[in-house]
């Protein structure tokens, strides 16, 4: 409680605060595959100062504002949810709350960042399971728009932003009779944009083209949503043809069949929802659970994401999707990596986020037990850029309220 009051005071009164927090004796899951048993995690202001072995170091209590004993608990870097409409929609069935899909086929200039609702009720239920960062992603058309990496805590979208306009999202056409035509239309669009980019000073400002320009100098990623072997092969050619620096496959249902080529092309994969039914009737029943291990075995850079039915609310199950892969070939730390460091590497924010390493932002949480198992994913502390966040949400409040109702009824009876 003492800690909490301190945190509150930080939140309420001091924006440019200074703090030193030391977490002792927890098991730190670094996010890069390493584990530090009995860890000492030092937080100074918004950064991780160090992660060390608490048994081999001495810490002077007076050096720290707060020392928290995490004995028996587990410390994790933030889980990161890529390719998600979280914050852009509230209730799927209510049109008024759907802010992720605009009119038009070519919308690179449509930006998710500014529609991101930091006060979304869904967001608080996601946070309490360890997901603290999201890539808010628009949908629809051939180019849906530009996504942004957002913190799941902030006063407004400006201070919640980690990386604005991190990439555009291109929906690669599915195979049909029009496939070749559609593919050419995409290439034409990119060539048009490349021409604009090479000579933008002499042209009237074209906001659509402006949004494309950073794609050619590597500042912005090109996220290409593609599933099948054919699509993925064509995406690889597309990358080469246009000389794009950062291309990411989103979905990649059949990426495991394109292994070596994908690896050579250095295109990472944001793999679709693990909790899915197999795409084909003839597939092994557990194929979607196994694909991460198949990619891992082939040395393909990948992370998990959660696109699909009811994805905003389902984001809180991202840790359990990662956990499910553990029975099908990934180790616990590899599973963790696929929803933490790997995601940040693929999005290009790994210098600041993704793992419990010195110098990175203190965006992490503490759980009573292993956080990839639903029985033990029970968060006791959450920090976003060093700021402690409530570990409860309105749902838990309703729970407590009605628990109280029944308790008082029991008393009166």
């Amino acid at each position: 409680m003492r800690i909490f009051v301190f945190f509150l005071s930080v939140l309420l009164f001091n924006q440019a605060w200074s703090q030193r927090i030391l977490l002792l004796h927890g098991t730190a899951h670094i996010g890069n595959g390493q584990v530090q048993e009995s860890a000492a995690v030092g937080i100074v202001n918004d950064r991780i100062a160090f992660v060390k072995n608490s048994l081999t170091q001495n810490f002077a209590p007076e050096d720290w504002d707060t020392i928290i004993n995490c004995d028996g608990q587990h410390i994790y870097p933030s889980f990161v949810s890529a390719n998600n409409t979280l914050g852009l929609t509230e209730i799927d069935a209510v049109r008024a709350t759907r802010d992720f899909k605009d009119v038009g086929d070519w919308n690179p200039h449509v930006r998710s960042q500014i529609a991101f609702n930091v006060e979304s009720k869904v967001v608080e239920t996601v946070r309490t399971n360890g997901v603290l960062l999201v890539q808010a992603t628009p949908r629809g058309g051939w180019i849906s728009g530009s996504s942004a990496v957002m913190k799941l805590s902030g006063w407004n979208w400006e201070d919640a932003t980690v990386l604005a306009d991190d990439g555009i999202h291109l929906n690669w056409p599915s195979y049909s009779k029009e496939y070749a035509t559609q593919q050419s239309a995409i290439i034409d669009f990119f060539e048009l944009a490349a021409a604009y980019a090479s000579n933008r000073k002499n042209q009237n400002t074209d906001q659509r083209m402006e949004a494309m320009v950073p794609c050619f100098n590597g500042q912005k990623r090109v996220y290409i949503h593609a599933q099948t072997v054919r699509q993925i092969n064509d995406v690889i050619s597309f990358k080469e043809k246009l000389g794009l620096k950062h291309v990411v496959i989103v979905g990649g249902e059949e990426a495991y069949l394109v292994g070596p080529k994908l690896k050579d092309s250095k295109i990472p994969v944001m793999l679709g929802r693990v909790h899915s039914l197999p795409a084909h009737e003839d597939d092994l029943t557990f194929l979607p659970y196994q694909i991460p291990a198949l990619l891992k075995a082939q040395g393909i850079m990948f992370c998990l994401q959660n696109e699909g039915d009811m994805q905003p609310m389902n984001t809180r199950n991202l840790p359990f999707q990662a956990g499910t892969t553990m029975a099908y070939g990934l180790s616990e730390e590899e599973a963790l990596q696929s929803i933490s460091l790997s995601v940040c590497q693929i999005m290009g924010i790994d210098k600041l986020y993704g793992s419990l390493e010195a110098g990175k932002k203190a965006t992490f949480f503490v759980s009573k037990g292993p956080a990839l198992d639903m029985r033990t994913n029970q968060l006791t502390q959450i920090y976003v850029d060093g700021i402690p966040i409530s570990t409860t949400n309105f749902q838990e409040e309703l729970y407590l309220k009605y628990q109280q109702k029944y308790r008082s009824q029991a008393k009166t009876n």
Binding site: E90, I91, D92, A93, V94, K121, V122, T125, S174, Y175, S176, T228, V229, R230, H275, S276, L277, P278, A279, H280, E281, D282, L284, T285, F286, D309, M310, P312, M313, R316, N317, F320, G323, T324, M326, A327, Y328, L372, D373, M374, R375, T376, N377, Q378, Q395, E396, L398, Y399, Y402, Q403, Y406, Q409
Partner: protein
């Protein structure tokens, strides 16, 4: 043959004229022959009986004599030397000569009531009053196609709707409609397809089934009370058809078994018009002795030249493509009587190609013939008139160049009621051969090759020293031949000859002009004959085709599995009983039941399978209280606010891959629920997830009865678009009144029947299937599972039930159950909920994942269910979430998906725990089933192993790959022969959700 080129040789026969055409003739009465005599023919009298060199005497359109030496003075005589006569085929599924039906539409607004004016049945898909005989018109194109396929009779009817009306047996002669209708009400027709009607109801196959049953009950009631009831144009006509045979069009093999139940209920019999995949359940069809008319439309080969696309074709489709042409043979072998229909075939060539394929696949020629003649004649009670060429039968037959069941014969002509129609010139003269062509001044050698229809000729001068072979143009019509060539070849003068064949082509004589233009007389004498192109036999197809799997798709069994005596050794056993979790325990399974659970070492009976479960966890199977998998053609009958009469149990689909997938997730039983499109939905199917069995074998025997009800946004159509504002109710207020209305009507119905049964009233009331079911609820003979979200509506329904004197059994979804758990506990209702779903619509704003725990703590029996094919296979994980959200113990959590659903479904005397005497529905897990790392190793139902992880990986996966390659090889070979232009497409597996409307599943988001 008198005039082979004339397409229509018309003899208006006296008997028909005197019966049907009462009007006067213009001019003198038409002349006609008294007798027609066909001589020297091969007559295929009936399957298994052929007369060689035989004659047939026809009088008045009927066969009066048949035999070897028939003489009849004054007969018009036909010499059919070398030709084969086959009885006219009988088509039982046709809409020839009928215009498509027109239905009035309301445009985009739902149509609740019939738009048909008049005293007709309330539902437009039921139109027994339609008499095809009254609307039949001659349609030359359709007639000609059927005739060229060898058909002489067709049962024509409106191939639209559920009760389709009467079918007329028509003869396919094309000259005079007054002779054609042999039997105006030869049959009545049915189907499960609503057809062109725009009326909202029915919108699903279970709705069609219920509607058909209700209509049949209405027919009974009407027939019994015709004197007192108001006239119904539909029912009164239908009543007159009750002695007519019934044909029933189905779209899938399982529909036969569905319709068969109706046949039993109403003590009738259906002749099925098949779908083409019946072979996969031939043994089941044999058990019920069904009559099936088989289609000859086989699936087209895909173009599989692109391996990326070929990958998208599921094995189920590959296997069906391979075996569909063997359908007739396989059914015949299984002991079923079969017929054939040309329905769906493009033209006569397609018919003959398909029929030959069927014969090549091994259907005996005699059986093929029977399927087209005697069998259909017998089925529709027309065997006195048609089906064979015997004395007294109608003189309708086809003339072939050879036995069409053995050879690739040509159909040359048909006879319909003694009236000939010629399709191909037949020439009995044998003109192929070498001739000495004698012109006054010169002799040539004339060599005719090719065929009678397309002769090719050369001439060679043999008088001079000239040895030039000159091409000649030869044309032949009947016995006339013309020969033209250039004397001395190119640049020479034209020689034009015309002649007549004499003595079957041995001699040709005629006249013409020679190269000088001089009129000459000429002759040619045959000195060598070349036989006609030899007959091509239908060759037996010796390809080794694949086996039928159960089900006939990926992961199907090669032979049906059976229960084994099994001993699990040294397992961690989650008993769900007071013993709790037993470590190092043995479980013995005998005869599909759990025989013994013990921590002592049990000895395996002889022959038992022993499974070393050291380090593994054994649990009872997961039971999913809320599932929509394994359902055919519609999960909602949303056409009306109350549809209690429909039942999911009528439309269970055993071929759904999701059954196997759920097994792989440890699920052994499920309640397949109607959707939530209306307040009182339909009856449930309680099934065990047995793989490779029939729908009836999936259903849990003697299961308690359940019905789905629903509240909230779905039933008030809140999220269905602005045009869906027609159906009552549109508010939660209206929903309450729908329930009261239903139950008050049910009470009145009960009273009416009670009065009848006690003798107070003498006439039996009308059977109302909807009210029967509502009455079962009132009498607590059927339990309600109600889809519900917010507390107001939950409260409301408990009040309705209390005031009517029954209990709600289960609230499903029940996402605000935690708010009214005290009231629920008092009412005694169970809650079956999601672990953590919310935010998909407005009414789930207050849904919390602590719901299950809060309700559990208030003493409610709680289940975690799936309502989703994907989540259904990891309900163990969903149950484990209640440990996180609300702090249930592991044993409590596990019961949420096993024992509690068994209790809620009133099946806990048979399942839900590991206890001696219960069904051996067991799952072997790699570790604690609530762990994120848990995996199913084996799933057993009633002692039979239906899923085995190791089998899947080591045996089935390679087998599937091999089977795919084998069939794709055949398909590629077919591609190279020019078959298959259809490109495969990626198919997204579609699912039924609570709010899926219509017969088609969707790939859209699940919004529950």
């Amino acid at each position: 043959m008198k005039a082979p080129l004339m397409l229509f040789l018309l003899f208006v026969l006296s008997w028909t004229a005197s019966f049907a055409q009462f009007g006067p003739d213009n001019g003198t009465k038409p002349s006609e022959p008294r007798y027609i005599l066909i001589e020297n023919a091969t007559i295929m009298v009936k399957p298994g009986q052929t007369l060689q060199n035989a004659s047939m005497l026809i009088e008045d359109g009927k066969i009066v004599k048949i035999g070897n030496r028939i003489q009849q003075t004054g007969a018009l005589t036909y010499d059919y030397t070398g030709l084969v006569l086959v009885p006219a085929f009988i088509e039982l599924y046709s809409n020839i000569g009928l215009e498509p039906l027109n239905y009035k539409s309301n445009g985009w607004r739902p149509q609740m009531e019939s738009n048909k004016e008049g005293a007709y049945y309330w539902n437009e898909a039921v139109h027994p009053e339609l008499a095809s005989a009254d609307a039949y018109k001659l349609n030359e194109t359709q007639l000609s196609q059927l005739q060229q396929s060898g058909f002489g009779f067709a049962l024509t009817h409106y191939t639209d709707g559920i009760v389709r009306g009467s079918g007329a047996m028509v003869a396919l002669g094309s000259s005079n409609i007054h002779k054609q209708i042999i039997e105006p009400r030869a049959a009545q027709a049915y189907s499960f397809s609503k057809g062109g009607s725009h009326q909202s109801y029915p919108s699903s196959q279970m709705g069609s089934i219920a509607l058909l049953r209700q209509a049949l009950y209405d027919l009974k009631y009407y027939s019994a009370n015709q004197n007192t009831l108001p006239y119904s144009a539909s029912l009164s006509t239908w009543a007159t058809l009750q002695q007519s045979p019934s044909i029933f069009k189905i779209e899938d093999k399982w529909e036969i078994l569905r319709a068969q139940k109706i046949a039993r209920e109403f003590n009738t019999e259906f002749i099925y018009i098949g779908a083409g995949n019946e072979y996969a359940i031939s043994d089941e069809l044999h058990k019920v002795q069904t009559k099936v008319v088989l289609p000859l439309t086989f699936p087209e080969a895909y173009d599989v030249n692109d391996p990326y696309l070929a990958k998208e074709i599921p094995l189920s489709e590959l296997k069906h493509w391979e075996l569909a042409p063997s359908n007739p043979k396989l059914l015949n072998e299984a002991g079923l009587e079969i017929g054939f229909t040309t329905f769906g075939l493009k033209n006569a060539d397609a018919f003959w190609t398909a029929l030959r394929k069927v014969i090549a696949r091994g259907l005996a020629p005699q059986e093929a013939m029977a399927a087209l003649t005697t069998t259909p004649a017998k089925w529709v009670g027309q065997e006195q008139q048609m089906g064979t060429l015997e004395v007294g039968k109608l003189a309708s037959f086809s003339v072939f160049s050879a036995d069409p069941f053995q050879y690739e014969a040509q159909l040359l002509a048909t006879w319909n009621l003694g009236e000939e129609r010629s399709f191909k010139a037949y020439n009995s003269h044998q003109i192929l051969g070498s001739y000495t062509l004698h012109l006054p001044n010169k002799d040539y050698e004339l060599i005719i090759t090719g065929s009678n229809e397309k002769p090719q000729a050369k001439v060679l001068s043999i008088t001079g020293a000239d040895t030039l072979k000159i091409n000649a143009v030869v044309t032949m019509t009947a016995s006339d031949i013309s020969i033209q060539f250039l004397h001395k070849g190119a640049g020479g003068q034209l020689v034009q000859l015309h002649g007549k064949l004499i003595k079957n082509g041995m001699l040709i004589e005629g006249d013409g002009t020679d190269e000088n233009g001089t009129w000459i007389h000429w002759s040619a004498i045959q000195h060598q004959t070349t036989p006609q192109t030899p007959l091509v036999s239908i060759k037996e197809d010796t390809t080794q085709y694949g086996q039928i799997w159960y089900p006939n798709m990926a992961f199907g069994f090669q032979s049906k599995p059976s229960a084994q005596t099994t001993l699990f050794k040294n397992a961690t056993v989650w008993t769900n009983e007071k013993e709790g979790i037993l470590k190092g325990a043995d479980v013995l399974v005998v005869d599909g039941k759990i025989k013994q659970v013990s921590r002592q070492n049990l000895t395996a009976p002889s022959g038992a399978t022993i499974i070393d479960a050291t380090g593994l966890h054994l649990t009872s199977g997961i039971i999913d209280e809320h599932s929509h998998i394994a359902i055919s053609k519609g999960v909602n009958e949303g056409g009306q606010a109350i549809s209690a009469e429909v039942s999911i149990a009528d439309v269970v689909n055993p071929d759904d891959i999701d059954i196997y997938r759920q097994l792989a997730g440890g699920v052994t039983a499920a309640q397949l629920l109607h959707g939530s499109a209306n307040p009182i939905g339909g009856q449930s199917a309680l099934i065990k997830l047995k793989w490779g069995v029939t729908a009836d074998e999936l259903l849990i025997s003697n299961a308690p009865k359940f019905i789905k009800c629903a509240l909230g946004e779905n039933v008030k159509q809140a999220n269905w678009g602005d045009f869906n504002t027609v159906r009552f109710p549109q508010t939660r207020m209206g929903v309450e009144q729908v329930f009261y209305d239903g139950f008050y009507r049910a009470k009145a119905y009960d009273a009416e029947w009670a009065a009848y049964k006690s003798g107070k009233s003498s006439t039996a009331p009308r059977v109302d299937l909807e009210l029967e079911v509502l009455s079962q609820i009132l009498h607590s003979e059927r339990y309600i599972t109600c889809h519900s979200y917010v507390q107001s509506e939950i409260n409301m329904l408990m009040h309705v039930a209390d005031s009517m004197g029954f209990k709600i059994n289960t609230f499903t979804h029940i996402l605000e159950g935690y708010k009214v758990a005290d009231k629920m506990q008092k009412h005694g209702v169970a809650g079956s909920t999601f672990s953590d779903w919310w935010a998909y619509k407005f009414e789930v704003n207050d849904a919390i994942p602590y719901n299950a725990a809060l309700m559990t703590n208030q003493g409610i029996t709680v289940c975690i269910n799936s309502d989703d094919a994907e989540m259904g296979r990891r309900l163990n994980q969903e149950a484990a979430k209640t440990i996180k959200y609300g702090g249930l113990t592991e044993e409590q959590a596990w019961k949420l998906v096993t024992l509690n659903p068994a209790k809620v479904l009133h099946l806990d005397n048979r399942m839900g725990s590991i206890k001696a005497g219960k069904d051996a529905d067991l799952v072997l897990w790699t570790t604690n089933p609530l762990s994120i790392e848990a995996k199913v190793k084996l799933t057993m139902i009633e002692g039979t192993v239906y899923y085995d992880e190791q089998q899947q990986i080591e045996k089935l996966q390679p087998l599937i790959a091999k089977e795919r390659t084998r069939i794709l090889t055949l398909m590629l070979a077919a591609n190279q022969k020019g078959e298959g232009s259809k490109l495969p497409q990626k198919k997204v597996k579609k699912h039924y959700h609570c709010d899926t409307l219509g017969e088609e599943a969707t790939a859209s988001e699940n919004t529950h």
